[in-house]
């Protein structure tokens, strides 16, 4: 059963430009969360006392400290909800519902050597995933993309090996993170002929996921994507976040919808239609 109730903000820090790390005291979420799962957050009054913004905001769990009973969010301030959340003073409570959804490793079925590909806020669930994988002794390479150096996370924030890419070339590889992946895969992984092949986990803007799905499929690697879709309830009730299921498991002519908030947010790349 997901937790629903108040939780206290215990720390905040600027993680990268316009991105805030927020630590929240909530033992239930800290205990139960798996990488790739998310919480619904309300950091403003309502809905009874003030109804705008009306809906909670979905945010990935970016890490947990089970001992302390805290979990972390990495929030990019893009609109009013994220701005209100970023403005909650340390010591105040917000409302948290979660953990929700299916995580990366549940989607993949097993842990092993992994390549993590993230852009922008896509970083949040991957940070948690990298921690869990390295703690389990698995090799992890994270490829982190951003528009420029200022938007990159500080070095050392992600467990395992990290390579960065920036659109403007101000740090690391000059280009997209998917281009970086392509280069690395052809150069490194395949040349080494390593078995088992790594699994690719990715989270980021849909165009990035689309590009990634194309290249990785080409290279024959299993790819799991964490999707974002506009949500109303976040708990599976409204069917607002549904995407179309595709792939070999479907009968001809069969139309099946899956909910990003419930069957997802992590899906095998071949399982969902990214083009709707």
């Amino acid at each position: 059963m997901p937790y629903i109730g108040r939780a206290t903000v215990t720390a905040k820090r600027e993680f990268a430009r316009n991105m805030v790390s927020i630590t929240i005291q909530c033992p239930a979420v800290a205990q139960e969360s798996l990488p790739g799962q998310f919480v619904q957050v309300r950091a403003w009054p309502g809905p009874g006392t003030a109804a705008d913004p009306l809906l909670d905001r979905p945010l990935s769990v970016a890490g947990v400290d089970k001992q302390k009973g805290t979990f972390e969010l990495l929030v990019r301030v893009v609109g009013r909800g994220t701005r209100l959340l970023a403005s909650v003073p340390v010591g105040e409570t917000i409302r948290v519902t979660g953990p929700l959804g299916r995580g990366f490793l549940e989607a993949a079925g097993a842990a092993g050597p992994s390549i993590l590909v993230g852009g922008g806020v896509g970083l949040a669930p991957l940070k948690f995933l990298a921690e869990v994988l390295t703690a389990g002794g698995h090799e992890v390479l994270s490829l982190v993309g951003a528009r420029n150096a200022a938007e990159l996370p500080p070095p050392g924030e992600l467990a395992g090996k990290v390579q960065v890419a920036t659109d403007d070339g101000s740090a690391g590889f000059h280009g997209t993170v998917v281009a970086l992946l392509e280069q690395m895969l052809t150069m490194v992984v395949f040349r080494s002929g390593r078995v088992p092949a790594p699994v690719v986990y990715a989270c980021g803007p849909t165009p990035m996921l689309r590009a990634l799905k194309a290249s990785a499929t080409l290279l024959g690697l299993p790819v799991y994507l964490s999707l974002e879709e506009r949500m109303a309830c976040g708990i599976g009730a409204c069917r607002g976040c549904a995407v179309r299921q595709v792939g070999p498991k479907m009968a001809a002519g069969e139309v099946k919808m899956v909910r990003v908030c419930h069957e997802g947010p992590v899906f095998a790349a071949g399982e969902v239609d990214l083009d709707a």
Binding site: I4, L55, V88, E92, G236, G240
Partner: protein, 336 residues
């Protein structure tokens, strides 16, 4: 300033935290009598905002609700509209789900038995492309255990054919209701659309055609445009507006309809709190539905049930019926 701090706390991070069990005052009978349909209490949850109840049953025992109106059910399975299907608006949201549902047979096979098994009172919301289709769905539901009533959705703005098209004109609205009336002995609730010049006229037409009750309102048609992409945000272009934003419109329509028909009314549209719900009861609704509020606060219906009970107790009432229509001098329905 300790008192200040406590009054302030409620304002950060949403409304209060609560237990999943109800605490009710003694001496207040919450039973809601809607003609031959009797509900534990007057608080139901609105079709399309509660799925088939599974998701909420993780948070609280949904048998505590007056009734669960299940997601709009069609004859055949429907995949629904293309995304995005929802977008937030000031104090409201637009949805264009497009009646995604597994079809009536699957609902009968899996969802209704589950609702029965957890002790929930189920009302099945139905939608069709033709008068015959409405009748056929009703026929299949007629003798299914655990169906307390059928709610006819002639007000869904998110499907190409049928849906709201039936609900905006009296003759077609009446035709659907007559068809369903012939197909089932179950109590019939007709759900009205607010997108009309005169909702009272439609209300009278469907009551004359045999509807045992009415529910109102469904959503108002609306849209949002993405100014960077220069196209509507919703995949379906338009959607249905719901949530607190529409509450004053819904209340006015319940007020009007309660002056024009004698059948029980289920009032909905933007109800979040008990005071919101009580406004609808005072206007003339015998029960209420909580819709969009379930998304913003999954435990909202429990607060509403408790709040109504507390209001009744505080004002010395022993039952809900005593306040139904109490603010509406023209209320036509019956009160004890």
């Amino acid at each position: 300033m300790p008192e200040m701090t406590s009054s302030v706390a409620a304002f950060v991070g949403g409304d209060g935290e609560r237990s999943p069990a109800l605490t009710l005052p003694a001496g207040v009978d919450l039973t809601a009598k809607l003609g031959r349909l009797t509900l534990k209490n007057p608080v139901t949850v609105a079709s399309g905002t509660f799925g088939y109840g599974h998701e909420f049953h993780r948070f609280y025992d949904i048998s505590q609700l007056g009734a669960v109106m299940v997601k709009g059910t069609t004859l055949h399975p429907r995949a629904g509209n293309k995304p995005p299907r929802v977008v937030e608006t000031p104090a409201g949201m637009l949805n264009a789900i497009g009646l995604q549902n597994p079809g009536v047979d699957e609902v009968i096979r899996t969802e209704l038995p589950w609702l029965v098994s957890v002790g929930a009172t189920a009302i099945v919301n139905i939608a069709g492309h033709s008068v015959d289709e409405y009748g056929e769905i009703a026929r299949r539901l007629d003798s299914v255990p655990g169906v307390a009533a059928i709610e006819i959705n002639i007000s869904c703005p998110n499907v190409d054919q049928g849906g709201m098209a039936f609900g905006v004109h009296c003759p077609s609205a009446a035709a659907v209701v007559s068809g369903v009336r012939r197909a089932t002995k179950l109590p019939i609730i007709t759900k009205l659309t607010p997108n009309v010049t005169d909702i009272g006229e439609v209300a009278r037409a469907v009551v004359d055609a045999g509807s045992d009750m009415l529910s109102l309102i469904n959503t108002l048609v609306g849209m949002v445009i993405d100014i960077e992409r220069r196209r509507p945000v919703l995949g379906n272009t338009v959607g249905g507006l719901s949530g607190p934003a529409v509450r004053p419109v819904a209340l006015k329509m319940v007020w009007d309809v309660a002056r024009q028909v004698k059948v029980p009314i289920i009032g909905l549209g933007g109800i979040v709190t008990a005071p919101d719900a009580i406004q609808f009861l005072l206007a003339g609704a015998s029960a209420v539905s909580i819709g969009t509020a379930n998304f913003a606060d999954p435990l909202a219906p429990l607060d509403v049930i408790e709040g109504i009970a507390a209001y009744l107790a505080a004002h010395g009432h022993r039952g809900v019926a005593e306040i139904v229509g109490a603010a509406n001098p023209g209320f036509l329905g019956s009160r004890p």
